[in-house]
Symmetry: C2
């Protein structure tokens, strides 16, 4: 049906620079600037060179600079630029595709101590935060304002890290991704210059959209130090629901019709049979072992009720007969427990093995086919891999478990991932809906973007001629 | 309160190339390729060098190429690239800031004959169209599908032109702008290479967002030849409403509270007193001469009713006492007549004079201040300038009328526009919310973007080293 050839071949892009300067000189200069906020201990460097969640081989930076302000980041970058020193920006270290691995050594700029909420404009529904604020911290800060920030990638990620990887998550079907929810950003460019990508107007037609270019650029074009984000009123009412279907196809048909009907569902998540089984075991539940949708509805009291009824009718039409809804926070949490614990349940099912979470995204009309074929591929490969999907977006995750010490297992994983990416592209999708490229998916970029990759590379070269910004990510180095 | 200095100074950017090749050689090569689809008649060239709606001095291209396909555009661009020939892409010619003026002569590529709807995917709520399809044509095509494309910039613009200028309009408060509603594009790059910016997945984290970079690039980075656009279900119910307020401030407070309350209003438009007066005269109405809001609500039968009631309560709170709503298409059109005819009413009020429509956009909390100060500035300048605003977005238009033959009037207009841009920036806004930069607002780019402008320019130089793509737009040449 589709060919892996072309998708997985190495891109012909070569690093245009990997001659870097003397790191000791840089460390000395940075120590003068930062004092004990520049750390060179092996433990801290190691902790910054990998990330617990990634399956990529860790590589430590030569030093970690804990930045306190935009101006300080600019100073650090200027020093690195002067000596052609690689820079890896670091938020919470929660990325999955090796974005923070210091492939060329150099300086890791840790932004996690920049945790100020700079300015809240409730009337404009926006807030400006420093890079290191996490989404949970932001929502705690907003608690008494009646407002919230909806993007929820699952991890306790920093907001700048989420922008850098164009993160999304369960709420994206209703509220969009980071692409849609950043008003402007303050960015330190590879020269050390500070750029603000725009004002706080809700829209603008004034020139190139630098914010959108930097969102998803994974630290390869600049370092995001502040962001202004869109906020939303906390809905008057939240309802949750769960129901199962006889087949993935029927679950997906229900999702498609729900979205076509304009039901403004806030979350609509799919767990496949294997994932439900894992959740039953891990969270001590007795869900029917069938493809299951987890939903959340936001709106007015009446509006939510109307949405639930519309969805229930649709679910009925596609043969679901166990629709359950809940309203109080406690009942909603109970109902959604399986979804909340899905990742850990998947890991628990294969204790003692290594785990790897990957994602692809396809048009929703191809979602069922892509999921079913992937399930079969998991079985045929002799791997273990439950599937969780942001069904409303056509985005799904496979959590592979495997024996890292087995060359056979590693080969199985590698070829499975290549086929998964090729399948997503054959279905007019993308090799990643929300995890990003990092190191892991650079090899799929040519297959996905064709000549477009050369223009991305030209932009990279133009803005970062010495290739100091997170070298080796997105593009092969 | 704010300084015009800095905003209006000439940017220091100089053209990096304006040595172009021999146009006669290019015309000969294009004639061989296109036959009678290459036109060099003075009338056609003149028609393509200006645009009826722009106040910028027209300059004709040397020839107009009526392209029929992406591949043909690629061939044309390859020939132009070979001979370093300026290219100006042309859709419907409805842009306002001189985007299509052939400042350096060269070849105008007219895409208006590329009018195919390539593929409709109702299940995915997307449609792929060629560059020359207009939004009205698309909606006529979609009539029997229950779907529609919401972005409505007022003019009968082509969809590729709308993407190129990052257009929006009255529906943007609910449905976003072209930035938010393009899934992917096929673009002919300055080399003549054809790039597809992505698949049809609803989201992706795979590399730089070339689509968003090209949206709003005004033909300076490539030529959009096809677009895949997001569609929406036609709402079950549409309600319209109109109400007036004692002051701009009160009208704006009502708008802010409506949006904060999460009322998903589809359109919320402000007409100032002068505009209402113009509409009364032109459309033979007897609206109270007060700041007036025009609204539209989309949703289910109940949902719409609920929205209207929520809004009415808010309008009451801010002293409005003449709230009127309408449901049938005929009644809605009657109720909205003033808004629909606003532009022509504004022109009619100053018959015999020249007209110029400009726009700025500010955070909604600064909208009332920006509008009221602008009204005063119009009066103080001795100009005529009714104001219409997309109030939900903080975006407003001033329609200036003036005597083109009067140096005094022209100077008044020029300095008024400079102050308007400076005011928008002082209020953390942008010099244009939806009209774009073109020629007219290039001088404000440095004030708005600071060092960011240099990075935009670096991208332009990297992708178009010979400066052939719509030279002189966005950046000074």
């Amino acid at each position: 049906m589709f060919s892996v050839v072309g998708v997985c071949e190495m891109t012909i892009l070569k690093s245009y620079n990997d001659e870097y300067g003397d790191v000791n000189v840089v460390i000395e200069a940075l120590r003068a600037l930062l004092g004990d906020k520049l750390v060179t201990s092996a433990a801290v460097r190691k902790q910054h060179g990998g990330g617990e969640l990634t399956y990529h081989k860790a590589q430590s930076p030569d030093a970690v600079a804990f930045a306190q302000s935009t101006e300080q980041v600019a100073e650090i970058v200027k020093i690195c630029a002067q000596y052609k020193m690689p820079i890896v920006p670091y938020g919470a270290g929660s990325s999955l595709e090796g974005h923070i691995v210091a492939l060329k050594g150099g300086i890791c700029i840790d932004l996690s101590e920049m945790t100020q909420v700079v300015e809240l404009h409730a009337e404009d529904l926006d807030v400006t935060v420093q890079a290191g604020v996490t989404r949970q911290e932001l929502n705690v800060y907003l608690r008494d304002t009646g407002l919230f920030f909806p993007i929820d990638p699952g991890a306790e990620a920093t907001l700048a890290g989420m922008a850098a990887t164009r993160a999304s998550g369960t709420n994206a079907v209703r509220y969009g991704t980071m692409r849609d929810n950043v008003v402007n950003m303050t960015v330190v460019m590879p020269t050390g210059e500070i750029v603000k990508t725009g004002g706080r107007a809700k829209k603008s037609s004034a020139g190139y959209d630098l914010a959108r270019l930097l969102i998803g650029s994974e630290g390869t074009l600049g370092i995001i130090t502040e962001l202004t984000l869109k906020l939303y009123g906390i809905p008057e009412k939240i309802l949750s629901a769960v129901c199962s279907f006889e087949s993935i196809e029927q679950a997906c048909e229900a999702v498609i019709l729900t979205i076509q009907a304009g039901v403004p569902v806030a979350r609509i998540e799919l767990l496949d049979e294997l994932q439900v089984q894992a959740c039953n075991a891990y969270s001590k539940l007795d869900l029917a072992v069938k493809p299951t949708l987890f939903l959340e509805f936001h709106g007015t009291e009446n509006g939510c009720q109307e949405q639930v009824e519309m969805f229930k009718d649709i679910a009925d039409e596609f043969g679901s007969d166990d629709f359950k809804a809940a309203s109080s926070a406690e009942d909603r949490n109970k109902l959604w427990k399986a979804r909340h614990d899905a990742y850990w349940a998947g890991c628990d099912m294969a204790l003692g093995l290594a785990h790897l979470s990957t994602d692809v995204c396809v048009p929703i009309s191809n979602f069922a086919k892509a999921v079913v074929e992937t399930q079969q591929d998991v079985v045929d490969s002799g791997l273990m891999g439950p599937i969780v999907g942001h069904a409303g977006d056509g985005n799904f995750h496979v959590l592979l478990s495997f024996d890292e010490s087995s060359a056979d297992d590693m080969e199985k994983v590698k070829t499975f991932l290549d086929r998964l990416a090729a399948r997503a592209l054959a279905y007019e999708g993308t090799c990643t809906g929300e995890h990003g490229i990092g190191i892991g998916k650079a090899k799929y970029m040519r297959g996905e973007h064709g000549a477009g990759l050369d223009f991305m590379f030209a932009i990279k070269q133009a803005l970062d001629p010495d290739n100091i910004m997170n070298p080796g990510k997105i593009f092969y180095s």
